[in-house]
Each structure stands twice: as structure tokens, then as C-alpha cells.
Amino acid sequence: MNSFTYSPPTAVDAAVRERINRPDSAYIGGGTNLIDLMKENVAHPTHLIGLKKLPLAEIENLPDGGLRLGAMATNADTAWHPEVEKRYPLLNQAILAGATPQLRNMATNGGNLMQRTRCYYFYDLATPCNKREPGTGCSAIGGYNRIHAILGASEQCIATHPSDMCVALAALEAVVRVSSPQGERSISFANFHRLPGDRPELDNTLRPGELITALDLPKKGFAKNFTYLKLRDRSSYAFAVVSVAAALELDGDIITDARLALGGVAHKPWRKAEAEQLLIGKPATLVTFRQAAAELLAGAEGHAHNAFKIELAKRAIVRALKQATEMDYVLDTNAFQNSNP
């Protein structure tokens, strides 16, 4: 790790000013990913702006019936917040499917969005990586690529976004609130992360210096019929090979609204309006589910070690939708919500 200075501002405007004035600085929330990247010498800011003294850790109801998740609330406090457990259990499940209790106690909501890919080559300074050093090449293409993208990749980069939480946030259509010296703005979740294209070094659409202050969840939480299904190489504490956030509204056995997002398959949580349209207005049957799965995976391309994920994702989608249909969620405050059904 290189040496650096540290300051913990107490106001958002002071933090964003400091970030703009120090182009080689970085914000630090919980630090679980950034400090690791600094130890690996992948990231080397010379100044860290600590965010923990900012008043951004609240979780509060919004006037429109939604819920605001402060950017500095921890993943653990968010998952176990009574309003999240009751109204957004899909988010609770997704958060608890990721990392460990220790990491979830440190990692923040804003930081979860900002975490970098776990592509082995991105971490390995001895190998070319367009995300780490633009223009050097992609070692995963033609290399070992089990955890890499099957959708939305480019010839420059096949990295995946590693978050579970973000897959649920995509399905729930969260809104990312950000601050900069120019003021505040909102970014829809679909537009927050980006595909690699020919700029794989850019993970998201934040402008220089912008700070995430909150994530706003819309009122509709799909709290009755939902599933976060995560398939991984061991039953706990592993990144997703494929994950599915499925959320349905049902009128009898007819689907009246549907959300479907995939993790572990692309540079961002993968959604497609056409796939969800194939579900809406249809009976909740395996035939319907298979059609939506085929549409969501349309155009998928595998590499030497990850082509299996195309069929795996389709089957995972069908299973997740079936589980969501059969579910009739009522919060049991005494039960631990097992994140790995």
C-alpha cells in the first residue's frame, strides 16, 4: 500500500469540494474493497476522504411511500432494518447472500455500488487488463474466464459486477442520489452501472467528484412474491456464478407485474424489458417462465470456461420464478431469513 493522507469531513459539501480539489483522492466508506485494492496496488490514491462522519447513515420513509437508504448505512443495518425486512424482503435476501457478517457490518450501501470487479486479472498486476490499465489488453479473453460475462461484454473487457445487493436494487428500480459541487441529481439504477464498451475502466456513469448520498426505493417492493436465487461454488461466502432476482405481482395465477435481474453474468445487473413483458399478463407457468428466460439470455456468448452459465442462468430464472410464484411471504420476526434457499 502506498502512503496517503486522510481526512474525515463532517459535511457533504466539504467532502465533494475536497474530492474535486484533490484529483488523486478517493472517498472511503467501509473500506472493505478499496483497502484491499490498495494493498494489492490496484488502487493508489494519495488522499482518502473518510465518509463516516457525514450524516448519511439514516434509513427513512419517503413521503411518496418509498424508503431512503443512506449511502453510509451498512449493508447489515440495511438488510435487517424493519422496513426493509417487511417491505423489501428481496433486498434483505440479496444482501445476506453476499459476503460475510463481518464484511456486511463494514460495507456501506454506497460502497456496494462502487465495488470493483473481482476479475482475477484486474487484481493481478503482472497481467494486462484494460480496466486497470487501459490499452494493455484483456487477459480474461482467452484466459481463465469462469466468473466472467456472458452478456453485454466487449472485445476490451468481459468483467462482471460482483454485487448481490445491486441485482435486487436493479429489480426494485432504486434511484441513486448523488451530490457534487454542481448540486444534487438522481440516476436511475439502470443507468448507474455501464457496459464496458471501449471504456472498460469506467464502471459507472458518475461524473468526477460525485458522491452517492442515498438510494431511494420506490413504494412498490414486491414483498409477497419474490426470490433471490444465488448459485455459487460453495453454499456461503462466494461470489455468484449466476444469481437471479425475481419479483412478481400475481392476480390468481396471472402475472400482473414482473421484474427479473441477473447477477454474475455482465458488467452490470442484467435486465431486459422484453423479457419482463413476456411474463406480464400471462399465467405463471413453466412455459411462460422458459420464454422469459430465453429472452433475457438472448444474444448471450460464452467463453472457454463460462459457456455453461448460459443454460445455468436460464434454469435459474425458471426456478426463481417458480419459487417466487409459490411463495406467500409474511415476515416472521423470529426466523433467520435463509439467504440460500
Partner: protein, 173 residues
Amino acid sequence: MSQLAQPTLGRAPVALAPTQPLTLRINGENRTLNVAPWTTLLDALREYLDLTGTKKGCDHGQCGACTVLVNGKRINSCLSLAVMQESEDITTIEGIGTAEELHPLQQAFIDHDAFQCGYCTPGQICSAVALLKEGRGKTEAEVRDLMSGNLCRCGAYTNILSAVMEVVNAQKA
């Protein structure tokens, strides 16, 4: 010409940042130390405060040997900077139980032989102390999931689980 990227060494900052006095509240005691900003909480405990019960395993948040409690919540001390923990209430394994009166988990680890080399044990016990406080893990499957942030290279998991379950069940009773 080789396409291999050259390893990038750490970029030197303009000037070496000075150490700064920092007060940490550890096991109920205020301790003031001079550390550089890049000192992790783990290194501060071990190298500056001689609290070597907390172990450095992977140093990347993957093994849990460095688990300590901050305001009662378990964290990986290797992935936090000491300067980020000013004024927080930190508990290390040295603050759990005494030689005369062991914490029930410490006694259970002995009774169940829940270790071989013992290197992961302080982290396992700190993690399990927090697990009990969280009150979420009641069954073996839940405890396995909620203890998955603590690896045991010797593979003493069966006995670790027995030890933790004994105390979980005693709490339930």
C-alpha cells in the same frame, strides 16, 4: 514487443504524511498512539499496542482471523484503517473473558476441542460472541452460514460448530 503490462509500483505521494496522534478505545481503555494513516486497525493492535491475540491471516478480509468487535459488531480489522475507528468502542479477544473466568464460548471451545493449531480461534470466538448478540443464528445451518467469514485451515469446523451450538442452545434455554 511483449504485450505484458509492467507491474505498477506504488505511486509515491508528494510528501510522506506525518503520523498523527490517535486515541482508540480498546477493551474499555483509552489508548493513544502515533500511527500513519495507512496503518490498519489490525496492525495498530498488534504492532503498536501489543495486543497480539488478534491474528493476521490473509490480511484481505477473507479468513476472519483478525475479527474484532466495534461497538459490539464483528468486523475484519485488516480491512479498516486505525484512523477510521477513532472514538469507537473496540473489543479484542483480550477483552473477552479472563483467565479466572472464561467466556462461555471460550470454555465451550476447550470442552469441544474446537481447534488444532489455534491460530483462527481468537477470530472464531470474537465472531461467535457477536453472533450470539445478533441473535439470528439458531440452527446448525444458520450458524454455519453466519460463521462462514471465519476459516479454519486445520478444518476443525465440526468441533467449532459443536462449541458454538452448545452456547447458542444454552442461551435459548
